[in-house]
């Protein structure tokens, strides 16, 4: 599938109807989502025929992009029922199979390392400090091969240090810097649209069995 086609399909998905600010619900735009998954597959072969998990899936954009690029099993996780309903309906609209689990990422308990790749656009930690790092910690425990994540460029050093030093990541690389369009979603948003500089990261977890438990 070509990048433009993927971007087009993702652009047709339904998004949050009543976004909840305390969960930092912002749609992952088709521009970013398509590039994240396209890079993951074309540069690293982390998507096709793999088991992919979308942490904090919201309306399912990243997970569905993974399915469109040939992931054999995709699971979306989110704490919010309404988002999961929208994600489910998006999956139906595209005639794609995607499992969903309603849960709190922090309390996740999954067996072994069945998941190959985790993709996520986590909350940035503007409402609940450290939320983004909570997501990363769990992602690095769950993924066998790679974690793709978006974090604000201003946090780059902190993210790298924490991932390598505290979360046992074997590597932490910024693949590229992107502009995240934040539309005027919430009452406190003054401007029609704002660009936030975000880094697209690829983390490699420590291989299972070598972990310090």
């Amino acid at each position: 599938m070509k990048l433009k086609q993927l971007e087009g399909l993702l652009g047709s998905l339904d998004q949050f109807e009543n976004p909840k600010i305390e969960l930092e619900q912002y749609p992952t735009g088709p521009h970013i989502a398509s590039r994240l998954l396209y890079t993951a597959e074309n540069s690293f072969r982390d998507v096709e025929n793999k088991v992919v998990a979308d942490f904090g899936c919201g309306c399912g954009t990243l997970g569905l992009a993974a399915a469109l690029l040939g992931a054999d099993h995709v699971i979306g996780l989110d704490i919010d029922t309404e988002s999961l309903e929208i994600a489910s309906s998006n999956a139906d609209d595209l005639d794609l199979d995607m499992d969903f689990v309603h849960c709190d990422i922090k309390n996740l308990k999954w067996r072994d390392r069945i998941v190959d790749t985790v993709v996520m656009n986590p909350p940035f930690g503007t409402r609940r400090k450290g939320a983004d790092m909570d997501f990363l910690l769990v992602a690095l425990k769950v993924a066998s091969n790679a974690v793709y994540s978006l974090h604000k460029t201003t946090t780059r050093d902190h993210v790298k240090r924490t991932a390598l030093r505290d979360y046992n990541a074997v590597s932490a690389e910024v693949l590229c810097e992107l502009r995240f369009d934040v539309p005027q979603l919430y009452k406190f948003h003054k401007k029609k649209e704002v660009d936030v500089a975000v880094d697209l990261w690829r983390f490699v977890p420590q291989k299972y069995g070598e972990k310090h438990l």
């Binding site: 025929n49 088991v51 054999d72 099993h73 704490i79 499992d99 969903f100 689990v101 849960c103 999954w110």
Partner: protein, 122 residues
């Protein structure tokens, strides 16, 4: 929810040591046909907890999986077909997942299990 996902999930209640596999209570099962992918099945086989898959598929009404399996069976198309069907074509649409240690039920609605914990379970 496919049984592949069920094969990963464990009870996340505080203090539970044997939370896997979750027992299944069935109210509605749906079968959805999916393209067969032999490479995927071969990759998944060593990662799957076989007994849990057999038990789960039987609870869902599918009794074709052998009690025990080893990788040499992957050379049989018939076995691959059954493995494929159980792993990715059976969906628990309505019902519950049950913690094997505490009996606590995690409801499954429209195929989505609710694994949110109550305050005293965290």
């Amino acid at each position: 929810m496919r049984l592949l996902t069920h094969n990963m999930l464990s009870s996340n209640i505080k203090g539970v040591t044997n939370g896997f596999p979750l027992l299944i209570e069935v109210e509605k099962v749906v079968e959805k046909q999916v393209d067969f992918n032999e490479d995927f099945l071969r990759n998944m086989f060593p990662k799957i907890e076989w007994k849990a898959l057999v038990e789960a598929s039987r609870t869902m009404g599918y009794t074709e999986l052998p009690e025990n399996a080893e990788s040499s069976m992957l050379d049989s198309d018939e076995f691959l077909g059954k493995f494929h069907h159980a792993l990715v074509e059976l969906h628990l649409e309505e019902g519950a997942l049950v913690c094997p240690e505490t009996g606590r039920k995690f409801p499954v609605n429209k195929g989505i299990p609710n694994m949110l914990l109550h305050e005293d379970e965290v």
